[in-house]
């Protein structure tokens, strides 16, 4: 463990990581559960995300809205995220109010009510969230691509879940999912900020250690078999813009190839930032931007590789230039990928990718919330050493490694090609109308 980090496991299995940072009077408290859409099957898709919503609906000691207001009164903020592999809850607060975060999370690890009436009102809220997503062509396209890429593995469905399940999941299913997964031995607590470790640890033990461990959860065993031929999906819908998504099966975060794949991503589509806060940089000198946007085959291109437990996808997203054609766009993309496979990149290109990664890490380290994020996030698919050793591992990638992963992963047989194409429906009546006037 790097200096300045305290790491231990409580008697009930809760992993704890603490990092003192005294640059500002703030504290950021994160609790991570090893449950996400990866742990769902048909009939229960979206249930992890829904449980996350229910965690804001109150416990006997802290009814709905009480914590919200208490945190806001302190000037803090809180939120939660559900991902493929995990669900995380965080509070960033003035340091003097950090105790509020500890009490809140320890309480709702076991005591959330999941009242029937709250389940029903949240059902329509989540359906509304999904409808908002469905308004976006990129969501509709990604949903189809993901489903085509994973026939067997539960990465098959979107995190928000299928509408069919959102309409039918019951209170008891939700509550069972909560009780099974929200146990200390399935969680990681990460805190960074302006505290004294010994004193904080004492509070953590008092609040979290009495919570009993739960049963060990069955591993996710439905591995995706290798794909043996390109899969294509086409979505039609409103608008006049054509979107393209190329998704290749990619290595998991703790596989050796992940680093070379990250360099490849940086060269092809610009560096991806894994920071939750801090943003990224432009990608105008990346190979695909140069080949597609500078030749007016696309108006934009971007790429991304996520850090996941099981092998997920490396995505390339493009918007077709109105004066170009899908065939031209795809041919040029293929030619660039072939070039990457045919000859290794230069050491200068690699040096650049490493400097970009170093800068992105520096931007991320500015905020205490982001530092606390990394403490827990890295534990979801590896451990915190993964994070601290990341730049070194990236710097060790050779041009030949990049060429090799391009050959291994960026094969047409290993991808799904998705397109969202305008359906040229008749335009609705003149866009803008005065509906009524009220006195």
């Amino acid at each position: 463990m790097p200096p300045g980090i305290t790491r231990l496991t409580l008697s009930n299995g809760l992993q704890v990581l603490l990092k003192e940072i005294h640059s500002a009077p703030l504290i950021s408290h994160w609790i991570w559960y090893r449950v996400g859409s990866r742990n769902e099957h048909p009939g229960k898709t979206g249930i992890s995300h829904w449980v996350e919503h229910m965690q804001f609906k109150g416990t006997p000691d802290y009814p709905a809205g009480v914590i919200d207001k208490a945190i806001s009164r302190e000037g803090g903020y809180w939120n939660a995220f559900t991902f493929l592999d995990w669900t995380a809850y965080y509070e960033s607060l003035p340091a003097a109010s950090g105790d509020l975060a500890l009490r809140t999370e320890a309480d709702r690890m076991v005591n959330s009510l999941f009242e029937e009436q709250e389940v029903e009102s949240e059902r329509t809220v989540i359906i509304s969230e999904r409808q908002g997503n469905e308004n976006e062509p990129t969501f509709l396209l990604n949903e189809e691509v993901q489903a085509a890429a994973f026939r067997v593995h539960p990465y098959h469905h979107e995190i928000i879940g299928d509408m069919a399940d959102l309409q039918t999941i019951s209170r008891s299913l939700l509550y069972d999912h909560y009780r099974a997964h929200y146990v200390p031995n399935n969680a990681v607590l990460a805190v960074a900020g302006d505290f004294e470790t010994a004193a904080l640890l004492k509070s953590i033990r008092e609040l979290y250690e009495p919570i009993p461990a739960g049963s060990n959860l069955p591993p996710v065993q439905r591995r995706e078999p290798p794909q043996h031929g390109e899969r294509r999906v086409r979505v039609e819908g409103p608008g006049e813009t054509t979107y393209v998504q190329l998704s290749y099966h990619a290595p998991a975060a703790n596989e050796a190839d992940f680093y070379a794949m990250n360099v490849l991503d940086s060269l092809l589509t610009g560096p991806s930032s894994l920071n939750l806060f801090g943003g990224g940089i432009s990608n105008k000198t990346s190979r695909l931007y140069q080949a597609l946007v500078e030749t007016e085959k696309a108006v934009s291109v971007s790429g991304g590789l996520g850090a996941t437990i099981d092998p997920y996808l490396y995505d390339i997203h493009m918007i077709l230039h109105p004066q170009s054609s899908l065939d031209e766009l795809l041919e040029t993309t293929e030619a660039e990928i072939t070039r990457m496979q045919a000859s290794p990149p230069t050491p200068e290109e690699l040096g650049r990718a490493v400097k970009q990664a170093r800068a992105l890490f520096a931007y991320g380290s500015e905020s205490i919330s982001n530092q606390a994020f990394w403490l827990g996030f890295a534990e979801m698919f590896a451990d915190y050493d993964w994070f601290t050793g990341y730049l070194e591992k990236l710097a060790a990638v050779t041009p030949e490694d990049v060429q090799r992963v391009a050959q291994a992963y960026l094969r047409p047989q290993n991808r799904v090609l998705g397109t969202y194409v305008p359906d040229h429906r008749p335009a609705p009546e003149e866009g803008y109308s005065v509906e009524e006037a009220e006195g």
Partner: protein
């Protein structure tokens, strides 16, 4: 709840906020204001800046000209081609971008502290010597037009545009900064060049530098690339005309086919940032549609009725009377029900003072969240820019808690009465 006992007092909340003793402010001979504050906990540096030129100067048939000119700045300069600009930036892991607003053109960038010099050189070259190479401009135009095509399908953006047209009828705020397809298509390279020549200049410009660098060095680095900038042709932006408030509520609908959700934007023109009652309005807005889980509106429309995933109110502030509005996304079937619930809350907000408890909660929220909003260099840079833009004074953040605490429920009610009359609102809905 018990107060925590594990925090240290190593960093004092009051002194972590920027103030006259740790903000460096300098006016260059050509009028540029430079602000700097160091943060040696960070190995990186952020710049933010603004020029006093924006969409208010756009001709009617070329709406979006200021926006287009801002986005075109980095497409090539007298010193470097597009390729060279981005090669320099991206090789350093740095970023820099310009954007055009109604009143100002702004820029922002970040780099490792060692690369501040290159960030400033590129920003200065872009503002002072842009070339607008025709080939690059056509490429950019296609991107802007695609952006507008996507906008025309975006229910939230289209509701917002329609709302602006209702509440700002006859006023320049009714136009989007990024124009319309026909006006963007009408803009020539020579228009961009002429616009830059006549409007870009040091007068009214502000730049803030925050991060792992001594303020004196930051000042020097800025002066090196901008102190000799002169533009005798620089013209001031036109004065903002007055706004006629709505005489009655007007509701409009934008039809967009094939959408699963409709968006609602509802409200009126609010106070400018420098209005004496802005802070009272802002606290009121927090109570109405932000505090906790989106304030009173979130409680009614999301928590109780389960009608919307998102609903919130916003108060833009800004140089002129920016909007004070409520936005929500709902099932097309539920549009009327959601609007009725929102109107009920607005009616209450307009008729009764907020409770002392509600106000105390929001006051505590405003005071407590200030240090969190300055967690990052970018947060501090935005805070410094606001000081200058709205002439708040370098000690503003130190005085802020007292200013916030001095607001009364009656003052909040007064702002509701002045700006949010439920009988004189704009209501816009976009969707299928």
């Amino acid at each position: 709840m018990q107060p925590g006992t594990f925090h240290t007092s190593s960093a004092n909340a009051g002194h972590s906020l920027p103030g006259p003793d740790d903000i460096e402010r300098l006016e260059l001979d050509n009028g540029i204001i430079v602000l700097a504050r160091s943060n040696f906990n960070s190995p990186s540096v952020v710049i933010q800046g603004s020029l006093s030129i924006g969409g208010l100067s756009d001709p009617q048939d070329k709406l979006g000209l200021a926006f287009f000119s801002a986005l075109g700045l980095m497409r090539g300069t007298a010193a470097r081609s597009f390729q060279q600009i981005y090669d320099t930036l991206e090789s350093a892991g740095a970023s820099l971008g310009f954007s055009g607003g109604t009143h100002t053109t702004s820029f922002g960038g970040k780099a490792l502290a060692e690369d501040l010099g290159l960030l400033l050189v590129l920003a200065a070259e872009a503002m002072r010597q842009p070339v607008y190479p025709p080939e690059q401009i056509e490429r950019l135009r296609a991107q802007l037009l695609t952006g507008l095509a996507i906008r025309s399908q975006d229910t939230s953006e289209m509701a917002s545009l329609a709302f602006d047209q209702v509440i700002y009828a006859g006023h320049p705020y009714r136009y989007p900064e990024d124009g319309y397809p026909e006006t963007i298509s009408a803009i020539q390279v020579s228009d961009l060049q002429e616009f830059q020549r006549r409007h870009y200049g040091p007068r009214g410009m502000v730049i803030a530098v925050v991060g792992g660098i001594e303020p004196a060095k930051a000042m020097e680095a800025v002066a090196k690339v901008l102190a000799d900038w002169q533009n005798p042709l620089q013209t001031d932006p036109p004065a903002l005309p007055g706004l006629n408030p709505l005489a009655e509520t007007r509701r409009v609908k934008v039809n967009i086919g094939g959408k699963a959700q409709s968006d609602i934007v509802l409200g009126a023109a609010g106070p400018a940032r420098r209005d004496p009652n802005f802070l009272a309005a802002s606290l009121g807005n927090n109570i109405l549609g932000q505090f906790g889980m989106m304030g009173r509106l979130g409680e009614s429309v999301r928590e109780q009725a389960g009608l919307a995933y998102y609903i919130a109110s916003g108060l833009a502030g800004g140089i002129g009377p920016g909007p004070w509005d409520v936005a929500a996304g709902v099932d097309p079937e539920n549009v009327d029900e959601a609007i009725d619930l929102i109107l009920e809350e607005l009616q209450r907000f307009y008729q009764e003072p907020v409770t002392p408890e509600e106000l105390a909660d929001s006051q505590a929220n405003y005071i407590g969240r200030l240090p969190l909003s300055m967690e990052s260099n970018a947060g501090v840079a935005s805070a410094l820019m606001a000081l200058e833009r709205f002439n708040l004074g370098l000690d503003y953040y130190r005085r802020y808690p007292d200013l916030v605490r001095s607001v009364t429920p009656e003052q909040v009610l007064e702002t509701a009465r002045q700006y949010l009359d439920p009988a004189r609102l704009g209501i816009a809905v976009a969707g299928s």
